[in-house]
Amino acid sequence: MKLTVRVWRQKNARREGRFAEYEVQDASPDMSFLEMLDVLNERLIRQGEEPIHFDSDCREGICGMCSCVINGEAHGPESQVTTCQTYMRSFKDGDVITVEPFRAMAFPLIKDLVVDRSALDRIIQAGGFISVTTGSAPEANSIPVSKYHSDLAMDAAACIGCGACVAACKNASANLFVAAKVAHLNLLPQGGPEKDPRVLGMVEAMTSEGFGACSVTGSCEAVCPKGIPTSFISRMNHNFLTAALKLRVHGPRG
């Protein structure tokens, strides 16, 4: 396959960026999209040029590190896959492929296609956990959990934290990411005691990190590599509003 790849190149956050165009002559349909970039990068390095920087690690769609917008779609044209699991068979010979970084105010650009998604970590720090001191856990089978709730929690917990939902949302909203974690933990009896402070804290953090509001457009669900549904956002809204209306929420730790 012959392709033209247009990539956003930007040396660092302080410099201006621009699109650079590269011809790729020898792509194979069985290559992954990132392997195609690898091959291009090998050529660039041999020419003494800096390779195109992009994030990736596991290359099997689970670590959530890869993060490109390909032809206007976060994680590329196929649904429910990450960029690393996008294969060149999804493109045609002669295609022009435009590759951009995830764009959001809360995801400052670092270099080329690499962005800083640490805001997502800070949201988790604001309550995306169950406070159980190591060693204090009760016998695992002492609290049965209905298969329905356990499966639903697992649907939400499947989130890989890639931030594609933010990248695809016209408002750069992180609602789907936050909702998935809130639903995962709030659905389980183990997460019950911290239900209210969790959702209040995470929502507040999400707002202060500079993510936009949810317009319920559904773009996030459409690009989510794990197909996490927006109904979890509604669940979070419900949790949030009921917690907020209680007025007095007791936090577990000061």
Binding site: E42, C63, Q85, A126, S131, V132, N141, S150, M154
Partner: protein
């Protein structure tokens, strides 16, 4: 050097309990005076950092990825073992201990393995309380499944994403500690040197990968949880960032590297499709619960799988190992696959593949049940190969997966360098010559949650060497060495890319130090690696600078260390003149082609000391003494 494993006295079943009573504790008020560095945020690193933070220590946690949640533990699919005996099928701590020891072909330290089996049950309790959504029965109680190398059902799982869910549990615990102020996480930071002061590990040199700043971080103890080194083989199931640099730098500073030749080849991976390939994808071993492995009886049979009648199929694992069938341990399944492919009966392009067939399972349970159990794996298979495994069998082939070897540690998980602790895959201790499926998650979390947090206190309470400042000459020298090395990599006017060297190294190792190893092949590999390393330092090309994000430079540094480590791997394989577990020397096999162990001469841990640049490594032996378990010839027939 005298290796002291510090195994507590007393009966096997009492060692850990006694040890916990006897080791020294740090007063709660004093804990906050101690700084601890934890490098790596996988299952072992994140769980250790979170637990140490909870205890009140000041923890600094480093990872190369953009977030602690990306560590490659996230990719583990199948499950985690624990001796809960929820199925009432006769499981207990002793059985898990024995299965693990036997699975490792009696090359692991008995006391460590017993402790691992003992705390495995706590790990499940802890993870469940953290909200890890393990699979459940309709009753609401936890479900389990079977895994290779065991005749009981003791593997807990969260769909095909057990590693992800357990890692998120540990990561969330870590984030809770960050918000409590006890842990500070430094993402996109790479440890490039270990700082040793007065013989104690007291700090690391770190490169901030974004700004390129090189700085020393000092602490009272250093914990390495940097995972395995299997990426030395280039094409593996590991993540792109997995590397040996942290371990290798520690090794160069005096830490012993144990059993480097024990690298596991996983039997169920998607076969290689082309030269551009960047990694191999694992299909969880759990698939062997319901999938049947076969090749055509006759070589050169090019018919599509569904047209090969049953009597012309060779379900070779069921034929050769009737007791365990498709659930034999990984090393055995891998070698069997290699053998049938070497006989010319392999399937798929290049003939390097065997079928993993779900036809019978679908017939028995229906497609829906199979979909519920393995849906995400089938999807992943489809994404990569564009084939529908519900209709045609999967094609699989062994690939390098896990490193049982690692830095040598004693019973307290401390290396021979005082103050340097090594946990998870990065240490050598629990899996011997072969790891059983679903045991890596168990070990990483046991080390991090339940073992290291106790044993590190024993070192700190004795506190022989105080935390030095970053101005000490050892730190300055280490920083300078790191800077010089980076400058050198950037200044070589070469032609070959770091990835190209990596690929070349991987090919040498796979050909000569992979599933079958010979004396001559290993000798040749050693020479080739030495020559490749020499070429690397004059012919590598690394563009850009070191004061900016520079992934080519990161890769080059890691490949440089792999080029040194690879040679040690071959040396260890050469010196171990026996076959055991994953280490298969063709000269030493039974008439049926199984491993022929030599307990009289090789029942030891090979712990290698760095001999200096250009000098051979020095071998130290820790004899393996089995007080309770009987060293038997492994049989899964």
């Amino acid at each position: 050097m005298k290796l002291n494993a510090n195994i507590p006295a007393g009966p096997l079943t009492q060692k850990w309990t006694t040890h916990k009573h006897e080791i020294r504790l740090v007063n709660p008020a004093n804990k906050r005076k101690y700084d601890i560095i934890v490098v790596g945020t996988g299952l072992a690193g994140a769980s250790a950092a979170a637990t140490l933070g909870e205890l009140g220590y000041n923890v600094k946690s480093f990872c190369v990825q953009d977030s602690a949640r990306r560590a490659h533990s996230v990719a583990a699919q199948g499950g985690i073992n624990a001796a809960k005996n929820y199925r009432n099928d006769g499981d207990n701590v002793y059985r898990l201990f024995y299965d693990t020891l036997k699975g490792g072909d009696f090359r692991a330290r008995e006391a460590n393995v017993y402790r691992l089996a003992e705390v495995s049950v706590n790990v499940i309790d802890q993870a469940t309380a953290q909200g890890v959504p393990f699979a459940r029965e309709y009753s609401g109680y936890l479900a389990t499944r079977s895994f290779g190398g065991a005749q009981v059902s003791r593997t807990f799982y969260a769909r095909g994403q057990t590693g992800q869910q357990l890692l998120l549990g540990a990561y969330q615990a870590l984030m809770a500690q960050v918000s409590a102020g006890t842990v500070k996480v430094f993402p996109r930071s790479e440890m490039l040197e270990l700082i040793v002061v007065n013989g104690h590990a007291k700090g690391i040199v770190v490169r901030d990968l974004i700004g390129g700043k090189i700085s020393s971080v000092m602490a009272d103890a250093v914990v390495l949880a940097t995972g395995g080194y299997s990426n030395v083989f280039h094409l593996t199931t590991s993540g792109g960032a997995s590397n040996v640099t942290a371990l290798w730098r520690a090794h160069r500073q005096g830490a012993l590297f144990a059993n480097p030749c024990f690298t596991q080849i996983h039997p169920t991976c998607i076969p290689v499709s082309g030269d551009y390939q960047s990694k191999l994808t694992l299909m969880s071993e759990s698939l062997r619960n319901d999938g049947r492995v076969w090749v055509p009886k006759n070589g050169g049979d090019k018919r599509p799988a569904d047209q090969v009648p049953d009597n012309e199929r060779d379900y070779y694992l069921e034929r050769m190992y009737p007791a365990y069938g498709n659930l034999v341990p990984r090393d055995i399944a891998s070698r069997a696959a290699k053998r049938v492919c070497d006989e010319g009966r392999g399937v798929g392009p290049g003939g390097r593949g065997v079928f993993l067939d779900f036809r019978d399972a679908i017939k028995r349970f229906g497609e829906d049940v199979v979909r519920e159990r393995y849906g995400n794996l089938f999807e992943m298979y489809h994404e990569i190969t564009n084939e529908n495994a519900y209709k045609t069998p999967m094609r699989i082939y062994p690939a390098v997966h896990y490193a049982m070897g690692g830095l040598w540690v004693d019973y307290n998980l401390m290396s021979n360098l005082p103050g340097l602790f090594v946990v998870g895959e990065a240490n050598f201790s629990d899996h011997g010559a072969n790891r059983l499926g679903a045991s890596a998650l168990m070990q990483g979390l046991s080390d991090g949650y339940f073992i290291l947090p106790y044993t590190i206190g024993n070192y700190l309470a004795q506190n022989q060497v105080k935390r030095p400042s970053t101005d000490v000459s050892e730190a300055k020298r280490a920083e300078q060495a790191v800077t010089e090395r980076l400058n050198k990599l950037l200044s070589i006017p070469g032609k070959r890319t770091p990835a190209d060297f990596h690929k070349h190294l991987g090919r040498i190792l796979w050909d000569h130090c992979g599933m079958a190893r010979t004396e001559a092949g290993l000798q040749q590999a050693k020479q080739e690696i030495a020559a490749l390393r020499e070429e690397f330092w004059r012919n590598v090309i690394v563009p850009g600078s070191h004061d900016d994000l520079n992934m080519a430079l990161e890769r080059a540094g890691r490949v440089a260390d792999f080029l040194e480590m690879g040679e040690l791997l071959c040396l260890d394989a050469l010196e171990r003149r026996e076959s055991c577990g994953c280490h298969f020397r063709t000269e030493f096999q039974t008439p049926e082609g199984e491993c022929l162990r030599n307990d009289a001469e090789y029942a030891y841990v090979a712990a290698w000391e760095f001999g200096g640049d250009g000098k051979p490594a020095v071998l130290h032996k820790e004899p393996l003494v089995y007080e309770e378990a009987h060293m038997a010839q492994r049989s899964y027939k």
